[in-house]
Amino acid sequence: MTAVRQTLGRAENPERHLITLEGKTCAFMLDLFERASRFEQALAQGEVPKLLQGRVIATLFFESSTRTRTSFQLAARHLGAEVVDFDVAASAVVKGESLLDTVKTLRAMGVELVVIRHSSSGTPHFIASSLGETVRIVNAGDGRHAHPTQALLDLWTLSRHIDDWHSLKVAIVGDLLHSRVARSLLVGLKIMGVQEIRLIGPRTLLPPLLAEAFGAKADTSLTALEGVDAVFLLRLQRERMSSDDLPSAREYARFFGLTKTWLQKIKPGTFILHPGPVNRGIEIASDLVESPTSLIWQQVTSGIAMRMAVLQKLFE
């Protein structure tokens, strides 16, 4: 194996991969929104062009996930691609050379694009730095670092309900510290031109420097939702619920769970988003999930169209 290259950043050609939204432009985002809209229409009409006929795509998930994995697989199949699914057990930690060997093996079988999810931040960067010239990488979530397709579909969903990004006031509530969705959202929101972003959560899950890192404001109470146009709720992971970060899920729900009462206090038309799956009664009261300003179900259905857009773009 050759020595580690001088600057890993240089080795990945940003157009071949979607690893992070960092460095992307507003034009890039709008282009993907546009493509996703067209695919959504095509899906509704049952007429999807087989643009990726003959291409082979693999999903390589080191963390279990039915929804995202299925979403990618369906997206690929709608476009006519062949899908190979490598489901590595979550407990088998595949490190270093074995990780590269796995991707090389897929490549040798004719796989041209790998959708990867892994628990270590930086895994897709690492793979792209060695193999990026011959295989395309899509990041389906790496540790706490990024989950670009989720942020893309979240922002696309929101974009259809708002007029102007610049004057938008957005809040993100929950476990910011451990959330790759939140990080990608923050990057995406800034690219779209959102000026005011408020992060809300307990100090154990929201270090003030984290807010500073993204040009956002940190708050420890839902009163900071006042005047906000859209709120993104983050899923509270089970392991977080009874850890040293939080005494209990009940405590989180009491102080950070979004309820009708809170919404009435702050602003009537606030859009509610959640990347899912929702812990009803914890991040959000059950009766809010289907409320008029909730975009949660739209997010669920927009995933496939957005991932089709991403695959199409990377193969161009």
Partner: protein, 407 residues
């Protein structure tokens, strides 16, 4: 090899400054005259050394090897290091008299083993400190992993029985589970983090024990501005405390992590720019006594990983002196800081001045690549770059002037 010789026209580091254009007389490898030869001095060799620097040989207080390897010792020599403190690691725990004795080398080149304070370097039971020192350990070492403060206190008291020096890399173990400094860069990147308080809270707590027990402690590889402050306060109180910082922490800050380059995966992690500047000031003022290489050669697989799972450490014997030159050139350190590589660490470790010398050509450029590199570890961010400054000769006590093969 000449035992009795003259060096002409070089700059000579006297511990504070580089004094220009000196003529230096050596006998049996020892400096016996400056500008004026001793009576009846008949040199075997006259060496034209203008433009070169004569420095006391380097003494490196922190080296971490997986096994005692001749290759690494040659790399050290190449870097002008003639005395090194071999630190225990989980691979090489140096916790029995046999292991310590086998790691000892005291010729013109010295490998001085630092024995583990606890058995298997695991932080649970005291090692047989008396016998380890008898077998040749020059000091003892611990990381932040001791089980309890009761154990720390007992270890300090027992070590003080033998007037032993304890090296400590302070990092509180329950807070040290991340892979990067808890600062803007890692929080943005989503890397598990280690707050600066992980180092300073343990440092502060142990300083209280030093005050109470009077044991001599050397805090190694500090990374925080606040640590510099704490050491300064401790010294002002008259506590028997010394400290060092690794060269990497003087050269780089957390921002380099944004490239995801695992060669910057270090323990302790690279911290903020303001931490780096305070560490530099600490070296300049002498609050931080020494600069170490913390040389940790690693195989390629150890670094060919996603960042959080890569093994921390950098191969740095051969880049130590060129790096210091860089810092002096940039005005980030004064010339006097050269003493942080030789005089000051030697005094801490052995209570004496370095006995060997090195001749440095500060202008020669050399590429950091296979043909010029002696260490088996290529884990350095300088790989593929061209550095300035190379040791061209060593002056060994009793043996004399020895040229190092040029590239």
């Amino acid at each position: 090899m000449a035992k009795r010789f003259v060096l002409k026209g070089c700059l000579w580091f006297d511990g504070q400054k580089l004094r220009p254009k000196k003529t230096l007389f050596f006998d049996a490898g020892r400096l016996v005259g400056v500008d004026r030869p001793p009576e009846g001095f008949q040199p075997q060799l006259e060496i034209e050394a203008s433009g070169k620097w004569l420095l006391p040989a380097l003494c490196d207080l922190s080296v971490r090897l997986r096994s005692l390897d001749l290759k690494e010792l040659r790399a050290a020599r190449q870097g002008g290091i003639l005395t090194l403190a071999l630190q225990p690691t989980s691979n090489l725990p140096l916790d029995t008299p046999e292991k310590v004795a086998l790691s000892c080398l005291r010729e013109e080149f010295s490998v001085l083993p630092v024995a583990a304070l606890t058995k298997r370097y695991a932080g649970e039971r005291l090692a047989e400190i008396g016998q380890l020192l008898e077998a040749g350990a020059v000091a003892l070492a611990a990381t932040g992993n001791l089980q309890s403060f009761a154990l720390w206190r007992r270890a300090f008291l027992y070590a003080a029985t033998f007037n032993a020096l304890i090296f400590i890399r302070p990092e509180e173990q329950t807070l040290g589970l991340g892979c990067a400094h808890e600062g803007i860069t890692a929080l943005r990147m989503g890397l598990p983090t280690i707050p600066w308080a992980a180092e300073t809270m343990l440092l502060a707590a142990l300083l209280e024990l030093v005050a109470e027990t009077g044991v001599r402690v050397h805090f190694s590889c500090l990374s925080c501005a606040r640590s510099v402050e704490l050491v300064a306060q401790a010294k002002a109180r008259g506590l028997p405390v010394t400290a060092d910082v690794s060269m990497a922490h003087l050269l780089w800050n957390e921002e380099v992590l944004s490239s995801w380059d695992t060669r910057f995966r270090l323990s302790p992690p690279l911290r903020s720019e303001s931490d780096r500047r305070t560490l530099l000031e600490g070296v300049a003022s002498g609050v931080i006594d020494a600069v170490v290489s913390d040389h940790t050669p690693l195989p390629l697989e150890a670094k060919a990983q996603p960042f959080p799972t890569a093994t921390p450490g950098m191969a740095s014997f051969e880049t130590l002196l060129p790096s210091l030159l860089q810092l002096i050139e940039r005005g980030e350190l004064p010339e006097a800081a050269l003493a942080a590589l030789n005089e000051r660490p030697c005094r801490i470790l052995l209570g004496e001045r370095p006995t060997g010398w090195l001749l440095l050509d500060p202008k020669v450029r050399w590429p950091v690549e296979e043909r010029c590199w002696k260490s088996s570890g290529q884990n350095t961010p300088f790989w593929g770059e061209v550095l300035r400054g190379k040791v061209v000769a060593l002056i060994l006590p009793d043996r004399g002037y020895e040229e190092i093969e040029s590239v």
